[in-house]
């Protein structure tokens, strides 16, 4: 009946097509090229924030307000429970909760980074990492909003400000550097297995209580190592300790660096192997 396809195929000119780059090269390209498109993920993240401002006067500050209420009431209660001075406990608690809020929001939202960008992923070719950077940028902006709570607490209790506070900058940088590979794995795995996001959410709840956020590590007494080597505590320390005017413990730097390196070592080969499949998964 129709046998034209053979002759049509024969008409193809002999064109030498270049071999595609290796998966690793393409994964690297994806991550770097995505980062260079800061104007794309920056703008989209900013739109996400503006979205929260629309229809409400406070916008993202609603979240700030609820964080403030939580910190205020927890602070009043737990400072009595732990017999701690409110002037030292409240700054500690507020920074801990704010940084934890950033980390847990990032981990939760990275789970849906690819799933929620399904339409874009299927239609327009762009580095997949863009969707991850968008989630990170959005949450850093929200963190900036919430930081207002700490500023108020710091002014109220006259927390001393010094040059050492600037150590928070490399601390935040390391936190982000560690978040990218972790978020990448979560985003990809959650695109494939849809039952993971709830698991992550309930794990985070457990981790919140296991991590020195509401309590100080010293309270563990001889078991203090449980807190000192808890990677979540170490990452929180990178932000909390400098702003409190305390030095960041070397263990925190070491564990955070180690965790970051380890997650890159896992995430990069994983991403290189499965990057092309993600469009089929979402």
């Amino acid at each position: 009946m129709i046998s034209l396809d053979v002759s049509e195929r024969a008409a193809l000119q002999p064109v030498a097509l270049g071999r595609p780059a290796s998966p690793r090269a393409r994964a690297t390209h994806d991550l770097v090229e995505g980062l260079l498109r800061w104007w794309l993920w920056g703008l989209v993240a900013w739109c996400d924030i503006k979205q929260r401002y629309r229809g409400s006067v406070l916008g993202p500050f609603w979240l700030t307000l609820s964080t403030a209420v939580m910190i205020g009431s927890l602070g009043a209660l737990y400072s009595r429970l732990f017999h701690m001075d409110l002037a030292t406990y409240l700054p500690y608690l507020s920074l801990g909760i704010l940084t934890w809020g950033l980390i847990s929001a990032l981990l939760t939202e990275c789970c849906t980074a690819f799933i929620s960008a399904e339409h874009v992923i299927k239609q327009i070719r762009m580095p997949l990492s863009v969707h991850l950077y968008r989630v990170i940028a959005r949450n850093v902006i929200v963190f900036g909003h919430n930081l207002v709570v700490f500023v108020v607490v710091a002014l109220w209790f006259e927390v001393r400000v010094g040059w050492a506070d600037l150590l928070v900058v490399p601390g935040m940088a390391l936190l982000m550097l560690g978040m990218i590979p972790t978020g990448l794995i979560l985003a990809a795995v959650c695109a494939r297995f849809r039952d993971i996001p709830p698991v992550v959410a309930s794990l985070l709840q457990v981790i919140f209580f296991m991590t020195p956020i509401m309590w100080r590590p010293e309270l563990l007494g001889s078991n203090i190592d449980l807190a000192l080597y808890n990677p979540f505590n170490c990452f929180i320390d990178l932000v909390r300790a400098p702003l409190l005017g305390e030095g960041v413990p070397m263990t925190s730097w070491a564990v955070a660096l180690g965790m970051t390196a380890a997650s890159w070592l896992v995430a990069f080969p994983f991403f290189a192997r499965f990057r092309a499949r993600i469009a089929y998964w979402v």
Partner: protein, 250 residues
């Protein structure tokens, strides 16, 4: 030289449904059967594209035709670069603008102006470039003061004007379209046609998936007949349409 070349391109689709979407079930099955992960043979796999080879050259306006499920959308996505084929080589020379979904990358609560920038940025333009082309796009869409309103209030035809205006203003060398273009009113279709005509005479490539003979004859000079993921025929519109009609009646 703008061109699209495919060599033996196959796309296999694993269908993830029910249990295979769940990590728990996947692991449980592994435990019971002694396997680490679900065996590939247990998954349902669809061969969406089967060893497609073709060359699309500058100036070609290609219609993708074929019954539902023939692989037209998958082929468009391969051309757009979003689906990387399981086997085969794809070489696309030229800046591609996919125009599959008029609502892509749009934020319903943002204004028309904001969305023009947003969508342009998704299509790979820097926000500054987009601001420079704003007047041109605004004039093309003829949406006037509506551009100051949230696009939540737009009709689907208005959304399409906006999307089409942005997609063609980025001056792509290759335009990929799905059939939704038909949603416009007669007046807008006329404008769109003029814009597309000038676009194609700039010796660029258009690939359009369509079910309508009318649209195909009007917009395209070549047609590509897909059936069950295989390339049945690629050639002048009339020949291919005839073959398609014959196979439909056979």
């Amino acid at each position: 030289m703008t061109a699209i070349r495919l060599r033996d391109v196959s796309v296999d689709f694993p269908i993830y449904q029910g249990g295979s979407r769940s990590l728990k079930k996947t692991l449980m099955r592994a435990g019971a059967g002694g396997r680490i992960l679900a065996d590939a043979s247990q998954r349902l796999v669809v061969h969406a594209l089967d060893r497609i080879s073709l060359d699309i050259e500058e100036g070609d306006r290609v219609a993708l035709i074929g019954p539902n499920g023939a692989g037209k959308t998958t082929l468009l996505r391969v051309l757009a670069g979003t689906y990387e084929p399981s086997v085969g080589l794809v070489q696309v020379d030229g800046h591609v603008a996919p125009l599959f979904d008029s609502a892509l990358g749009l934020n319903p609560d943002a204004t028309g102006y904001e969305n023009i920038i947003l969508r342009g940025v998704y299509m790979g333009m820097a926000p500054k470039e987009m601001s420079g082309r704003m007047t041109e796009i605004a004039a093309f869409t003829e949406l006037g003061d509506y551009l100051r309103m949230p696009i939540r209030s737009y009709s689907s035809g208005m959304l399409m004007r906006l999307a089409f205006g942005v997609a063609t203003c980025v001056h792509p060398e290759i335009l990929l379209m799905d059939e939704w273009l038909l949603a416009g009113d007669a007046y807008f279709l006329e404008k769109a046609r003029a814009r597309l005509a000038s676009f194609v005479t700039g010796s660029k490539i258009l690939v359009l998936a369509s079910h309508s003979d009318l649209i195909v004859r009007e917009w395209c000079n070549k047609a590509l007949f897909l059936e069950r993921g295989q390339l049945r025929m690629f050639g002048p519109v009339e020949d291919v349409l005839a073959a398609y009609a014959e196979s439909a009646h056979a």
